[in-house]
Every structure is written in structure tokens, then in C-alpha cells.
């Protein structure tokens, strides 16, 4: 031996024997091998190493550490380790090794070359640790994670299927409502067709028209993704287009001027009835004979909510023949009450002007 490079000098009394005793007593498993002898055999191991591996000193000394390896020892890690040792580089890693009794354990290790003064590798020193518990923990953690992920996936699938069912149900109900409205409307119109001209027929036709207005409301609902709101502007345009279809446009015009408003779906049916009733009333009574004129429907936001103005330049309330049943007017007043609104009939000179104020809460129109 040519001697070793000097590091920090040892205080007096700390001899090699002291180190040998300290290493022997250390709880960290340690082993030294000698690469200058064939096959790099173990030349020293401490008590902790013997405890870890289950071998006696005689069974290890003179043998290569591969004695600890077994069928599941990772060949890739071994290759990395051997390459490092051949090149005289340190190695740090974990191997699945086997005790003498055959039980495997995760063997964490650092291996460092020990060089002489000339720089030649004369020993390898390795400090080791049993990493089996850590591995078990990691494995348990991974299992727990996998289980958690599975559970999340299952729940997501459950929720998705619940949502699909809900959507399918909504479509089914929507379809049935629309179909039933169609049946009701057809029923009324059929009866109207078979009723002789007169009051009864007019009443049936008027009812069919009201159902038509409700149908327009329903057609607009659920049509654009958001099931809770409807586009008031488009809705009014559609509603009025139905009324305008029967008009002699040269004599009477009907016009709408509405702001873009996304209203709560619950308001669709009452608003449809309200606008239909007032506009129909104006068209029917404001322009007797060959009188010309226009009906306008305006809707704007106001401080209280929404202001709806239905105005005509016809003969005015005083001249219009009184409606004996007054059903239309009662209907309008009931609907306005349902919408918690207020209603004002006024003479517009010429014609009639009806102003309805409907309060809107945040839920009605965001």
C-alpha cells in the first residue's frame, strides 16, 4: 500500500482502531470491497450489514456482492452500477436484494471509490439502508391514488350519465308539451271549422289564437341551450308576425320596437298572452270600417323593470263597442297581476294607449 491522501488531521487519540470500532457499532449497514482482487470481493462488513442481509462474515468475505442479488433484481440498475464502478465513479441507487433466507428487501446504497495517494481505486466503500418500508409506502400511496382516481372516474361517469338522462328527460317533456299544444290547437280549430259563423265560432277561433300565442312562447323556450331564459325581442317579433299575417297591410300596420332582453322562462307564457290579447284587441276594435292606422308595441327597460306600451291611433276606447263578456280585459288584468305589474289605459288622442310596468328582479332579467 502506498498511503492515502491526507484530509483533516485526526485529533490525538483517535486511531484507526477508533474508526474500526465506530463503524462496527454504527446502525448504518456498511461494506468494503477490494477491486484489486479478482471479482471485487467483500473484505469488510459491519454488524448492521450482517443483520440486514442475514449472512455471517465468513459467508460474505471473499465473495462478490452479487451473492445478494436474486431473480427480481433490476438488471438495468446493475448495469449502471457496474459501469460506474468500472469507471471509478460513485454510485447511488436502489436495488431489490435478497437476504440469506430468500426474503427480498429494497437495498438503498451509496458506493464510493477509495483512492490511494496515486489516485488508484483501492477499495469501494458502501453505506446502505433498508428502503423496503419506503417502497411499501410508495406502493400503498400509488394504490390509494389509483383507487381515488378510479373513484373519481366512476363518479364523473355517474354524473355524466345522470346529466344525459336529465337532458333526455327534458327533451322528452319539451317534445310532449309542444305536441300537446299542437293537438289542443288542432282540436280547437277543427271545432271552429265545424261551428256555424257567429259568436261561438269567434270564441273558439279566439281561444285557438291564444293557444297559438302560448305555442309561440313554447317554441322559443329550450331552443337555444339556455333553458331558463328566452330572447324577448325575437319572441315578440314572432308573436306579432303571426298577428300581422292576417292583416291588410295597406290599411293597418303593426310594428314592434323592443329592446334586447333575456327574460326568465317563467315569464314567457304570461307575456305571450298579454301581448297577444292587447294587440288582437287593438286590431279588432280600433279600426272599424275602412279606417286606417297602426298599432305599435314598445318594450324597454325602465327603473322598475320593464315598460310595455301598446298603442293604436284608432277610434279610442269611448267609441269602441263595449265587450259584453269583457273576457279579454279580465285576462289582461289577471296576467298583469300575476306578473306583479301595473296597468294603465289612457286615451292617446287619437286612439288608445296601454302602459304596463312589470317589475324585473335579478332572476327575471340579469
Amino acid at each position: 500500500m502506498t498511503g492515502f491522501p491526507k484530509g483533516a488531521s485526526l485529533p490525538s487519540g483517535v486511531t484507526v482502531d477508533v474508526f474500526a470500532a465506530a463503524f462496527e457499532a454504527s446502525p448504518t449497514p456498511m461494506v468494503v470491497t477490494d477491486p484489486r482482487r479478482g471479482d471485487n470481493p467483500v473484505v469488510w462488513a459491519n454488524a448492521a450489514f450482517l443483520t440486514l442481509t442475514g449472512y455471517d462474515r465468513e459467508e460474505l468475505y471473499g465473495h462478490n456482492c452479487r451473492r445478494l442479488q436474486g431473480p427480481l433484481t433490476d438488471a438495468g440498475v446493475l448495469q449502471t452500477m457496474r459501469a460506474a464502478l468500472r469507471a471509478g465513479r460513485p454510485f447511488e441507487g436502489e436495488l431489490l436484494n435478497y437476504r440469506k433466507d430468500g426474503t427480498p428487501f429494497w437495498n438503498g446504497m451509496t458506493i464510493n471509490p477509495v483512492r490511494d495517494a496515486a489516485g488508484e481505486v483501492v477499495f469501494f466503500f458502501s453505506a446502505q439502508a433498508d428502503m423496503t418500508d419506503k417502497h411499501r409506502l410508495e406502493l400503498a400511496m400509488r394504490d390509494a391514488n389509483d383507487a381515488l382516481e378510479r373513484e373519481v372516474n366512476e363518479r364523473t361517469a355517474d354524473l355524466r350519465s345522470a346529466l344525459e338522462q336529465k337532458t333526455a328527460l327534458l327533451h322528452e317533456v319539451d317534445h310532449r308539451v309542444k305536441n300537446n299544444l299542437q293537438v289542443i290547437s288542432s282540436l280547437m280549430l277543427l271545432k271552429a271549422r265545424r261551428t256555424p259563423e257567429g259568436e261561438a265560432r269567434d270564441a273558439l277561433q279566439a281561444m285557438a289564437d291564444r293557444i297559438g300565442a302560448l305555442s309561440t312562447a313554447h317554441r322559443m323556450l329550450y331552443s337555444e341551450g339556455d333553458v331558463s331564459r328566452f330572447d324577448f325581442q325575437e319572441f315578440t317579433t314572432d308573436l306579432i308576425a303571426d298577428l300581422a299575417a292576417g292583416l291588410d297591410e295597406d290599411r293597418i300596420r303593426i310594428e314592434t320596437e323592443t329592446e334586447a332582453l333575456a327574460l326568465s322562462a317563467a315569464m314567457a307564457a304570461p307575456l305571450a298572452l298579454l301581448i297577444h290579447e292587447l294587440a288582437t284587441n287593438a286590431l279588432r276594435h280600433a279600426f272599424p270600417g275602412e279606417r286606417r292606422g297602426r298599432v305599435s308595441i314598445e318594450a324597454r327597460r325602465c327603473e322598475a323593470g320593464m315598460r310595455l306600451v301598446i298603442q293604436d291611433d284608432g277610434v279610442g276606447m269611448a267609441s269602441a263597442p263595449p265587450d259584453p263578456a269583457g273576457f279579454g280585459r279580465t285576462l289582461v288584468e289577471m296576467v298583469v297581476r300575476q306578473l306583479r305589474g301595473s296597468l294603465e289605459w289612457a286615451d292617446a288622442g287619437p286612439g288608445t294607449r296601454i302602459v304596463i310596468t312589470i317589475p324585473l328582479t335579478g332572476a327575471d332579467a340579469p
Partner: protein, 159 residues
């Protein structure tokens, strides 16, 4: 109601609700068209389509034998002389290619919507290119200029 300026159309009504079918026939008559018959199931509809030689078939999706209106549309529109128009409250069932149909009238429909669409069909059959812009409650098929079908969306195109 839109005036019929073209010759009356011969119309097949494919609808399983008898009340709707009966009323629709009355309406078609009012509009100056001719009903060539009513079919409530797929087989009757396809058979009538062959024998009654309609110009137009108004086809509901849900019939007595299930949602077979789509296959009825496909069979009837195989004859280029027949214009198929869906008439349904269940537009979600319509496939992206509309099964050969020209478009879909939404239920519940207004008389004006039916009149407008039939006028549009009559004009198309006469070789003109009428506008669909004023037709409420009607969605043309993508082939007929309705834009990509998103399954029951009635949103109007921005002007």
C-alpha cells in the same frame, strides 16, 4: 295568409296524431292545396308516397311505430319529384343531412308558418330561389342554405 301563386301542391301528411293530421288537412285545403292522404306509420307513408304521387310530404318524426319519420323522409326523398319537409316538436332527432328533407317546421306551428313554407316550396319547385329569411319557425336543411345543423337550434343568423 300567403297567397298561393303557384299551382296547388299535392301534399302527403305523415302524422300519427289524428287530430293534428285532420286539422292540417283542413289548413292545406284553406291554403288552396290538396291533401293526397294521411299516413300514421312508416310503411303506410312509404306506400302512399309511391301510389299517391305527392309533390310534398309533411313528415312528423314520431309515428305510431316509433321515431321512424327519418327513414320515411329518406325513402320519400329518394324520388326527386317529392319535396320532404319535417314537421316535428322533436327536431333533435333529425340527422345532420336531414335525410333528404328540405327543412323542418317546428311544432307547435302557426298557420302562417305552414303557409309560408308551402309558398317557399312551391316557388322552389317552379325554379325560383325564394328567400327563407322571413320564415319563422322554419329551419332549412344545410343543403337548402340553412347552415350547419346543430340539432334543434332555431337561432337566426345574424343579419
Amino acid at each position: 295568409m300567403a297567397a298561393v301563386t303557384e299551382a296547388p301542391l299535392r301534399i302527403l301528411v305523415v302524422e300519427d296524431e289524428v287530430l293534428i293530421a285532420l286539422e292540417l288537412e283542413c289548413l292545406l285545403e284553406d291554403l288552396g292545396h290538396v291533401s293526397v292522404g294521411v299516413a300514421g306509420c312508416a310503411a303506410d307513408a312509404i306506400a302512399l308516397g309511391r301510389t299517391a304521387r305527392p309533390d310534398v310530404a309533411l313528415v312528423d318524426i314520431h309515428l305510431v311505430d316509433g321515431p321512424t319519420g327519418v327513414e320515411v323522409a329518406r325513402a320519400l326523398s329518394g324520388d326527386p319529384r317529392v319535396t320532404v319537409v319535417f314537421m316535428t316538436a322533436n327536431a333533435k332527432r333529425i340527422p345532420p343531412d336531414f335525410a333528404g328533407a328540405l327543412g323542418v317546421i317546428a311544432k307547435p306551428y302557426s298557420e302562417r308558418a305552414v303557409a309560408g313554407v308551402l309558398d317557399y316550396v312551391a316557388q322552389r319547385r317552379a325554379g325560383r330561389t325564394p328567400s327563407v329569411a322571413t320564415l319563422d319557425g322554419f329551419q332549412p336543411a344545410p343543403d337548402a342554405g340553412g347552415g350547419p345543423w346543430t340539432g334543434g337550434s332555431w337561432k337566426r343568423e345574424a343579419p
